[in-house]
């Protein structure tokens, strides 16, 4: 483990991503503690420009954009993380069972996965979001997670199929492990780095999906997220009226977050992927 960490921190990309992500995380988690303003309080006017009182101005409802940004980033991270965890869990479960078991089980599971891949996930996302009456941040994460798993499942299946032909698997099989034990103790540990990378990708995908849905007006209720902020600024034509502070900060936050996650992901790839690993 220690070796892995040392290896990881040799990758400049990983360091850049990691530091950036830590910064965003502390902005979203510690920020609200240091700045205990209510993000919903209407403190200023319609699109008041940045000033001493409001560093990033106010939005169309006269709410402080900076405070909104902190709470919004937190919600977006929560949704992304929930979505990532759920998608990865489903994907790994289906992929590893299909890959290890093979035969008819593999056919059926991969069939389902392929069906999910062919239906554009945005369609399912929109339909699910409309159907759900009470959309909290966690529910949003759930909805995004259960539409995002198929690619992970396919990749994990491929990895598992190749892993199961290795010798240590045969040895373990002789000792009488059940299929579940085989997957948990003998296969998944060898894919851990891969799964973690898949999670990171799903995490950033989840954040972007939340922004897409929220911009369409299907975001979480009674809460603020980066997508919800963009939604209101679009509705109120902030671009035309020149209220850049209403949409540039959430866009920057959004791209910084996904960039940091992507950068961590490529950094890890450099370390864990033998083909890319440098001596």
């Amino acid at each position: 483990m220690k070796d892995i960490l040392i290896l990881l921190f040799r990758s400049k990309r990983f360091i850049v991503g990691f530091v950036l992500f830590l910064g965003i995380l502390s902005f979203a988690l510690i920020g609200p503690i240091l700045n205990p303003k209510n993000p919903f309080q209407m403190v200023g006017g319609l699109f008041s420009p940045p000033s001493d009182r409001f560093i990033l101005g106010t939005d169309n409802l006269g709410r402080d954009v900076f405070t909104q940004l902190m709470y919004g980033t937190r919600t977006s991270l929560l949704i992304g993380c929930t979505a990532g965890l759920i998608a990865t869990t489903i994907g790994v479960t289906i992929g590893s069972i299909a890959g290890y078991k093979g035969g008819i089980i593999e056919e059926v599971l991969m069939g389902i996965t392929n069906v999910f891949i062919t239906i554009p996930s945005i369609v399912i996302l929109i339909l699910l979001s409309i159907a759900i009456k009470a959309r909290s941040a966690v529910v949003m994460g759930l909805v995004i997670g259960i539409t995002a798993w198929p690619w992970t499942a396919r990749a994990v299946r491929a990895q598992t199929s190749s892993l199961k032909t290795r010798e240590h698997i045969d040895i373990a099989r002789i000792t009488g492990f059940s299929s579940l034990e085989m997957i948990i103790y003998e296969i998944l540990p060898y894919m851990f780095s891969y799964i973690f990378m898949a999670f990171i990708l799903q995490f950033s995908g989840g954040i972007l999906n939340e922004a897409t849905l929220s911009m369409l007006g299907l975001g979480p209720f009674q809460t603020v997220s980066l997508g919800v902020m963009l939604h209101w600024s679009l509705l109120w034509e902030a671009v035309r009226t020149g209220a850049w502070w209403a949409f540039i900060p959430p866009v920057i936050c959004l791209s910084m977050t996904t960039f940091s996650l992507m950068s961590m992901n490529t950094g890890m790839d450099e370390v864990f992927n033998p083909r890319l690993r440098r001596s």
């Binding site: 919903f40 309080q41 209407m42 006017g45 319609l46 699109f47 169309n60 409802l61 006269g62 007006g217 209720f221 009674q222 679009l234 509705l235 109120w236 034509e237 671009v239 035309r240 009226t241 020149g242």
Partner: protein, 575 residues
């Protein structure tokens, strides 16, 4: 080389063939119109035009009611500035006790040259008696319409409902159609409503030139019968581009590609204050538009604890009206007052009493709201900051709803929820699709709901607003579909005052009754006025056309309908 030539030749022939085919199948494709002779308007048509039949449920611009009367015309046009009906097809009208006599303009004719006579008027009105159409309720108030001669129409009032003002409303609303054309189509309700009328023959100053999913183009009829009376409208062509969204239309307006717009355009003042564009609205300063309707918060007055007028009063004091005017209405509304009468702009302002509002009404005052909750209702604040009444009823969560996408209303409700929570009343917002909202509203199935009582503006305002908020007669119980008084407010005194006001023409007496009704309203609070909205957003860009009326040049009503058609005659191409 040879191959290349052959390739080029086939390419050219493909292009030529497609162009030819294209010009056949898109015979109505947009032609390049001279910009100096063309007026571009926006905000009246969303989505591709499907029918130009004025009887259909939602015909395309300009054949829908409440739009520019350019192809079809009404008898009279309502003048928002004077509160009177100005002539159009009709020259004058006069009331005796139960009859209304209308004189038509001499020389009026249809665009095909046939004279327009009193028979056409009678025929058009009779259509509403024969079939359920947009103006069929006209026949609740009128029992008979006759053509006395070619230029005179006589209407007989329903003696049980002699509501003259309501009849006058229809004079500005019902399109007159040519009998010689429509009598052939009028073979049944279905045939009448489904007729697409793609070559409309009206009596107005413009004819339909072409239409497509992108735009509708009208061309001036230089043989218009009204030229001796009204002159000739200035633009030779009027085009309504069909935008995909509000912001696309606003951007085109800002660029000068649209001259005259009815779209809600946030922070329009920036266009002349910051960007120095030749853009204007009616007023140069706030509220920029003339307030003419009162979008309000309807309260379910039969559901505990909202059935307690004191709870409603506390809520009324809690709402931040100035904030709604500033953010939701983008400063296009003065802060709402606690009255069903609009205090500024429109003719009804003469009935407004600030004295009554100060004495019986409310305004944004959170301290007063808390005082009512704690002293009068003896409510105690729970650990979550929400008040609980002595009998254990928590003030909320109440759901406040309006249709999704109605941005100014959504914002208003956000402000309502936020300011109520700040006082200690728990309100949550919900934005369903419009049909759901209509259903909940009409059946009375809501806690709090945003709606405009008696929207638009008519000669019958503010009477119509009192009627729609406080008249229970003819309203079915909760659960069934109602068309007004959605929260089923019932007050015998109010009902008798409303009925009395409908029959009175004496201004002094009318003012007294309206004041009394308003006092009852302020005592019982069935709805809470949240903001004022103009009848139309009146926005012009003078890059290509100048002379639009405004506060300093009040030559016509700032409307995209009714007397606002005079604007087409007043503007001039820019030198």
């Amino acid at each position: 080389m040879f191959k290349m030539k052959r390739f080029l030749a086939s390419l050219i022939s493909i292009v030529v063939i497609t162009t030819l085919l294209g010009s056949v199948s898109f015979a109505q494709a947009p032609v390049q119109l001279p910009r100096k002779e063309t007026l571009y308007v926006a905000g009246m048509q969303w989505g591709p035009p499907t029918t130009f039949n004025p009887m259909a449920p939602s015909p395309a611009w300009p054949t829908n009611r409440g739009q520019h009367y350019l192809i079809y015309e009404t008898l009279f046009v309502y003048n928002l500035l004077t509160g009177k009906l100005d002539p159009l097809i009709g020259e004058s009208y006069s009331w005796s006790v139960y009859t209304l006599t209308i004189k038509l303009r001499k020389g009026a004719k249809w665009q095909d040259g046939t004279p327009l006579t009193a028979k056409d008027v009678v025929y058009s009105l009779q259509l509403g008696k024969k079939y359920p159409l947009y103006f069929s309720s006209f026949w609740d108030f009128v029992t008979d319409v006759k053509a006395k001669d070619d230029l005179t129409v006589v209407m007989t009032l329903n003696k049980d409902k002699p509501f003259k003002k309501r009849v006058e409303v229809f004079l500005n609303q019902i399109f007159i159609v040519p009998q010689h054309i429509w009598s052939k189509i009028d073979t049944g309700q279905k045939a009448l409503l489904e007729y697409t009328n793609t070559e409309p023959v009206g009596s107005g100053p413009y004819k339909l030139l072409s239409y497509s999913p992108e735009q509708i183009v009208l061309q001036r009829d230089d043989n218009y019968w009204g030229i001796p009376y009204y002159g000739k409208p200035a633009p030779k062509y009027v085009v309504h581009p069909i935008f995909k969204s509000n912001d696309a239309g606003n951007l085109a307006f800002e660029r000068g590609d649209v001259d005259f717009s009815q779209q809600f355009c946030p922070e329009i003042w920036k266009m002349w204050e910051v960007k120095k564009l030749p853009v204007g609205t009616w007023y140069k300063k706030e509220p920029y538009h003339i307030p003419a309707s009162v979008p309000s918060l309807y309260i379910n007055i039969h559901k505990k604890p909202l059935n307690n007028p004191l709870v409603r009063r506390a809520l009324a004091y809690a709402i931040n009206y100035p904030k709604i005017a500033e953010t939701a209405m983008s400063r296009y509304s003065p802060p709402a007052k606690s009255s069903l009468i609009i205090p500024v702009g429109v003719p009804e302002r003469k009935y407004f009493s600030q004295e009554d509002v100060d004495k019986y009404g409310w305004k944004y005052d959170p301290a007063k709201a808390i005082e009512i909750l704690e002293k009068q209702l003896k409510a105690k604040k729970g650990p979550d900051g929400i008040y609980v009444l002595p009998d254990g009823t928590r003030l909320g969560p109440f759901t406040a709803m309006c249709p999704y996408g109605w941005t100014d209303w959504m914002t208003s409700l956000e402000v309502v929820a936020e300011s109520a929570r700040a006082v200690g009343i728990d309100i949550r917002t919900e934005y369903p699709d419009a049909p759901v909202w209509v259903d909940r509203r009409n059946t009375g199935n809501f806690d709090l709901l945003m709606n405009t009582p008696a929207g638009g503006y008519t000669p019958a305002h503010p009477w119509l607003r009192f009627f729609e908020v406080m008249e229970i007669k003819g309203v079915p119980p909760i659960g069934q579909v109602a068309y007004w008084n959605f929260n089923r407010y019932s007050n015998k005194k109010a009902s008798s005052l409303i009925e009395a006001a409908a029959k009175i023409t004496d201004e002094q007496k009318l003012a007294t009754i309206f004041r009394e009704l308003d006092r009852i309203f302020m005592k019982d609070i069935p709805i809470i006025p949240l903001e004022y909205r103009p009848w139309h957003f009146y926005e012009y860009n003078e890059t290509y056309w100048t002379g639009f009326p405004n506060e300093n040049n009040p030559t016509a009503s700032p409307l995209h309908t009714a007397q606002g058609i005079r604007i087409f005659y007043l503007i001039k191409p820019k030198e």
